[in-house]
């Protein structure tokens, strides 16, 4: 708690200080917008820690075109309304580059404002396809899309020859989007979908849903959504002796699911970006995180690091600080980052990004599944 409070205070005081000081110092401000508080704050922690590390290391090497990068942090609580407020504050603060937002439902409305105001945005975490489907010039991401993650999950389930599959989602952009992609993949393979149903995010009681799953006698349950709901579903399903294998997207793959579900999290399947922190070429970076007492293994730490690095290299490649020039440089170049070689297509999506299926364990560790 104290850390999130401190972060909030830092963020507020930084932004207040910046508003007061104007832009006298020749610094490049990098806005970082994501949830510092709220139910998915742990993903925000990953984002902020990755981005801060990148800024620190780039500054240590002399900054960008001789200027230092300065982080300006904003809390959107993963709430679309709050995200719009944050986006407007960024505009007022005169920030030209944003790393964020995290939740797709926040990124989508905020990106409208960034595009209108000429601010370059790179989201390290939002996987909803719609974000880059609108022909925006200044919107990029350092993560794959639901449309890539869904088929990976769908194909994995199909390979196990299940008899009946249930798909549950939380009716939000991210969860429902991924769930639909999984359903379509399974349908193409001719697998019977016994149930396709929404729950309400924030619900606590899933006994009726679980009874229904038992009745439908399913052997696989795919859940599109985040860990607070899936954690409870897993736990309540175990208590009701529901015997099915659960699978979810990267939104459920973090250690908080273990504190909620406990033993019931054992054997959960999760599609995640590959563990970038295990790559040999990233070991120096991993050590730098560990020296600061931070954990680089979260799915969004290194994607956020890469997003900052892309902004920095984009500015240098363009030789200009104008976000439109930087965007053009990002589209035409090829960049070496901790998440691999990044090349962008016209929409602002990475030309290649893979998701891997992991098996989650009750102690919070994970092993890849083939």
């Amino acid at each position: 708690m104290t850390t999130s409070l401190k972060k909030l205070v830092t963020a507020v005081s930084t932004s207040v200080a910046l508003m007061g000081a104007g832009h006298a110092a020749a610094d490049i401000q990098i806005g970082i917008a994501g949830p510092m508080t709220g139910p998915v704050a742990q993903y925000g922690d990953m984002q902020f820690s990755g981005a801060r590390m990148a800024i620190e290391q780039i500054n240590a090497k002399g900054g960008v075109m001789g200027e230092k990068l300065v982080a300006v942090e904003y809390d959107d609580v993963c709430d679309p309304k709050q995200a719009v407020t944050v986006a407007n504050r960024l505009v007022n603060d005169g920030v030209s580059y944003v790393i964020g937002h995290l939740c797709s439902s926040s990124t989508q409305p905020a990106s409208d404002i960034y595009e209108d105001e000429g601010i370059l945005m790179i989201t390290p975490a939002s996987t909803s396809p719609e974000i880059t489907e609108r022909g925006y010039e200044l919107v990029f991401r350092t993560i794959g899309l639901d449309s890539m993650q869904g088929p990976v999950a769908g194909n994995h389930i199909a390979k196990q020859n299940p008899e009946r599959v249930a798909i549950v989602h939380d009716k939000q952009q991210y969860g429902e989007g991924i769930a639909t992609a999984v359903r379509d993949t399974l349908k193409d393979k001719g697998i019977e979908i016994a149930m396709f149903e929404g729950i309400t995010a924030g619900d606590k009681d899933f006994s009726s849903l679980i009874t229904k799953l038992k009745q439908a006698d399913v052997d696989y349950v795919y859940f599109g959504g985040y860990h607070p709901e899936l954690g409870l579903i897993l736990r309540q399903a175990r208590q009701a002796d529901l015997d099915a294998i659960f699978m979810g997207p990267e939104g459920v793959g973090n250690k908080d699911i273990n504190t909620i579900a406990g033993e019931a999290a054992e054997g959960l399947l999760v599609t995640l970006p590959p563990s970038f922190d295990e790559k040999a070429e990233n070991q120096d970076l991993v050590k730098a995180f560990e020296a600061k007492g931070e954990d680089p293994s979260g799915p969004f730490v290194l994607t956020s690091y890469a997003a900052v690095q892309l902004v920095a290299e984009g500015i240098e490649a363009a030789g200009s600080k104008d976000p439109f020039d930087v965007a053009a440089a990002l589209r035409s170049g090829s960049f070496e980052t901790p998440i691999g070689t990044v090349q962008y297509d016209k929409a602002g999506d990475m030309k290649s990004f893979e998701f891997v299926v992991y098996e989650w364990h009750s102690d919070g560790s994970k092993t890849p599944v083939n």
């Binding site: 139910p39 924030g202 619900d203 606590k204 009681d205 006994s207 009726s208 009874t211 009701a240």
Partner: protein, 307 residues
């Protein structure tokens, strides 16, 4: 047989959740019955009860205590004491100074209190979901020849029995005890009761304390049943319990019980036979329907308007 088992299972699910709604609804209905205001901070009192119980359970387990009934009783007492003091303090700080003013003022004060308590817990406990240890595990299983197995867990039985005990105790208290009689008198006519020598301030405080204590019981039970708590835990539960209170007839204690059970069962039946997406639509639709035909709720007295 298969279908019957499925139906019974959904009924059990609904009754479990409904009896917990009823426990929370009591707090809304008693306060409304006596001073005609809606205590919007009640959901937060319930959430604080759940957090206190969790802290007590964690503390006792860390101390090496292993005897489950003792852990539960101590946790329950801690939760009830903290929530009751909170309920008492909320009334003292936020409602008493504005009592007797225009109706909107205590309403705004209540909403403010609710936001304050929610944010206080955000800061004090962090905003993440915290897992509740599963203390009562296992249960009975019933199965016919088919594959579907109906289960009645010990946790569900605990919720039923505890609710039953609380409700019986409350009814006896209201109908038999001196304070209970004073409560009824105050709810009939506050001014008159005061003229007859009843310390109305004390009675009003007592209602808040009783409502909060029952909310704390629900907090512990539902925390264990669901498996996690977070600072927004009270918001939805509070909304549902308030609906239950209105459905049954706000101001009426048996009404709150009935409303809670109806709401719980209608939610689980909708999820079970239609789709989980429609459960709120159906339960709130039901509320509108009942209010259209019985504007004072199922067991509410057709009385002078209060809000």
């Amino acid at each position: 047989m298969q279908d019957l088992l499925y139906f019974s299972q959904q009924l059990i699910n609904g009754l479990t959740i409904g009896s917990a709604y009823a426990l929370i609804a009591i707090g809304y209905t008693m306060v409304y019955g006596i001073i005609g205001m809606i205590n919007f901070a009640h959901g937060e009192i319930y959430m604080i009860g759940a957090y206190t119980a969790l802290i007590a359970i964690t503390g006792l387990t860390a101390l090496g205590l292993a005897w489950l009934p003792l852990i539960l009783i101590v946790a329950l007492l801690c939760a009830m004491i903290v929530s009751s003091s909170m309920g008492w303090a909320v009334e003292r700080v936020a409602y008493r100074p504005v009592r007797g003013r225009h109706r909107l003022i205590p309403l705004i004060s209540a909403i403010g209190m609710s936001i304050f308590l929610q944010n206080y817990v955000h800061l004090a406990q962090g905003s993440r979901n915290v897992g509740f240890p599963a203390l009562i595990e296992g249960g009975f299983n019933f199965s016919a020849d088919g594959a579907f197995e109906m289960s009645l867990s010990y946790m569900q039985i605990t919720i039923f029995i505890t609710t039953l005990i609380c409700m019986t105790a409350l009814s006896l208290f209201i109908s038999r005890s001196r304070t209970g009689r004073a409560c009824r008198a105050v709810s009939q006519d506050l001014g008159m009761a005061s003229l007859l020598g009843i310390d109305t301030n004390r009675i009003i405080s007592a209602t808040f304390v009783i409502g909060a204590a029952l909310a704390a019981v629900a907090g512990l039970l539902l925390g264990m049943y669901y498996g996690s708590v977070d600072p927004l835990f009270g918001f939805i539960a509070g909304l549902k319990a308030f609906t239950a209170a209105v459905l049954g007839g706000i101001g009426s204690i048996p009404g709150a019980m009935l409303g809670g059970l109806i709401l719980g069962v209608s939610e689980s039946m909708t999820s079970g036979y239609l789709s989980g997406e429609y459960k709120d639509v159906v339960s709130f639709g039901l509320l509108i329907l009942i209010l259209l035909f019985k504007p004072t709720g199922l067991l509410g007295k057709p009385e002078v308007e209060k809000i």
